[in-house]
Amino acid sequence: MSEIYACHKVSEGVIEGEVLISTDDFCFYLVDPKTGVVIEKNHCLEGQSIADKILVFPSGKGSSVVQADGMYQLKMTGRGPRALIIRYPDTVLVASSIIMELPVVDRVPQSFYEHVKNGDKLRVDADHGSLTIIQ
């Protein structure tokens, strides 16, 4: 059985992957590009790898270049996330995702956040605006 939720496209693409939730805002520059491991001090995901995950977090943070720089390096090493699900889109994160061709969605119903948990297998279809938790 699977559950489907509506969402809104930020950056196009369709992909499946495993969910990793961050309750903290996220800066891709503070991830080790060689491993995909978060190196930001006191971050809730410090020491965990975001490689190949569908990363669920509130918002991007960090100055105007570092998101794109971080994402690009992760893309080159293949240790980046497969897609992002965000609550608050900001220009830096949105522009960086579009340029780096990383699928991103927002405007996800609250019920999704209540049901989704780490390790869930999820299909993100940004183009058609749907999220499917595959059980």
Binding site: E40, V92, A95
Partner: protein, 401 residues
């Protein structure tokens, strides 16, 4: 999105492939944020970073024939010629900085290599529509000048420089500039450094809302406002703030909130500032260097450091990063000579987050900037964060206690 004939032609490729790529990205951005149309911009600033993504994107646009309609000022990479005199720069890093300079020159940028263009070379008037990237710049443009910019990424600002347009949304619209959270400052904010801590402490309690500060001193220095904005926008995404009685869109509390009630009131105490200070600083102890100028120091700040080191010998090397104009002025004023006599120096056109500092990796420094310490996590540099006066004392003793 509704596009003008010219904008549609840019999107269709009539102005070349480079302009087409830029317009495509801007239309996609506009659609995410429900922008009804594009608006012309009269100033732009690109946060050049001299890193792989930055170089990849600017070269991609240059090679596709893009040229800027609105020449942007740009952030620093590093001063190759200076660092070649004091350390070894790898062939690869030399190649990268040369390519970065060349690509930005070709695309039509104004090569200021300075992260505080809003102080001296790219100063907007009230209400002007602009596209500024760089985290210390966007809050200054919006808050201090009352000009308008979204929190552009380096890439989206470059697209705006090329097309001369930006999608109409966010902080370009009146209704989105109103204050949302009243920040009652009960802490004792007495110097420029306290604004750094204030800027770092507030975002945690804000949740993406625009803060309106009350009970701050009137007449803050430009550096104080620069610090506040830089840290607000580093610790969180806060591209605009109001200070009642100081910033132009907040003559009164009522006007700052556009006549509405605050959604929330938060209080910042001295304890909050002390706590954030303790959280972000690395442990005290022996230090190897002192580094200032993130964001770039202005001439008053350089003068202050010169005054503090005058007649003293520093145990560790000290650098102040600044613009080439400020360095020139520091030389003319004799500050540079004073600094060099004590073992310090001024370096222009340089950012702390660059490979030229490799000789300091694995070492510990002292700085007045939380932002400096935040990004250098990537470069294995440790920083004890202190106010400028204490930093100098530490540099003289070679130790922070």
């Amino acid at each position: 999105m509704q596009l003008t004939v010219e904008e549609q032609e840019m999107l269709d490729g009539k102005y070349g492939k480079g302009t087409q790529i830029a317009m495509k990205i801007q239309v996609a951005l506009g659609e995410v944020f429900d922008a009804p149309r594009m608006v012309p911009v009269s100033r732009t600033h690109v946060a050049l970073s001299n890193q792989e993504a930055d170089l990849w994107f600017v070269e991609k646009l240059v090679n596709a024939g893009a040229r800027c309609r609105i020449s942007p000022t740009v952030n620093p990479g590093f001063n190759l010629e200076y660092f070649q005199c004091i350390t070894t720069i790898s062939k690869e890093d030399e190649r990268t900085i040369r390519r970065t300079r060349q690509a930005y020159k070709e695309i039509g940028a104004t090569l200021t290599f300075d992260c505080t263009p809003y102080l001296e070379k790219n100063v907007p008037r009230f209400g002007e529509i602009t596209a500024f990237s760089e985290s210390s710049a966007t809050p200054f443009i919006n808050s201090v000048y009352g000009a308008r910019t979204n929190r552009e990424s380096a890439q989206s600002a470059l697209c705006a420089a090329i097309t001369g347009r930006t999608p109409l949304y966010g902080f370009l619209l009146n209704e989105n500039r109103k204050g949302q959270v009243l920040v009652d400052v009960q802490a004792d904010v007495k110097n420029d450094f306290d604004y750094q801590l204030l800027g770092y402490a507030v975002p945690k309690k804000l949740q993406f809302k625009t803060p309106v500060f009350v009970n701050l001193p009137t007449g803050p220095s430009p550096a104080a406002l620069m610090n506040l904005g830089a840290q607000l926008n580093t610790a969180g995404n806060v591209p605009m703030y109001h200070i009642v009685g100081v910033t132009p869109e907040a003559p009164t509390v009522e006007e700052a909130f556009h006549g509405d009630d605050p959604e929330k009131v938060i209080t910042i105490t001295q304890e909050d500032l002390d706590q954030v200070h303790a959280e972000i600083t690395d442990p005290v102890g022996k230090i190897d260097f002192a580094l200032f100028g993130c964001p770039h120091f202005n001439i008053d700040q350089v003068a202050r450091v010169a005054e503090l080191v005058k007649g003293k010998q520093l145990k560790v090397k000290l650098w102040i990063m600044t613009s080439s104009l400020t360095k020139e002025l520091a030389e003319r004023m004799g500050y540079l000579e004073t600094l060099q006599a004590s073992g310090g120096d001024v370096v222009d056109d340089t950012c702390m987050d660059q490979p030229c500092w490799e000789f300091l990796y694995g070492k510990k420094g002292v700085t007045d900037s939380p932002k400096c310490a935040y990004y250098t996590k990537r470069r294995n540099m440790q920083f004890v964060i202190r106010k400028v006066e204490d930093c100098i004392e530490a540099a003289v003793r070679g130790e922070v206690s």
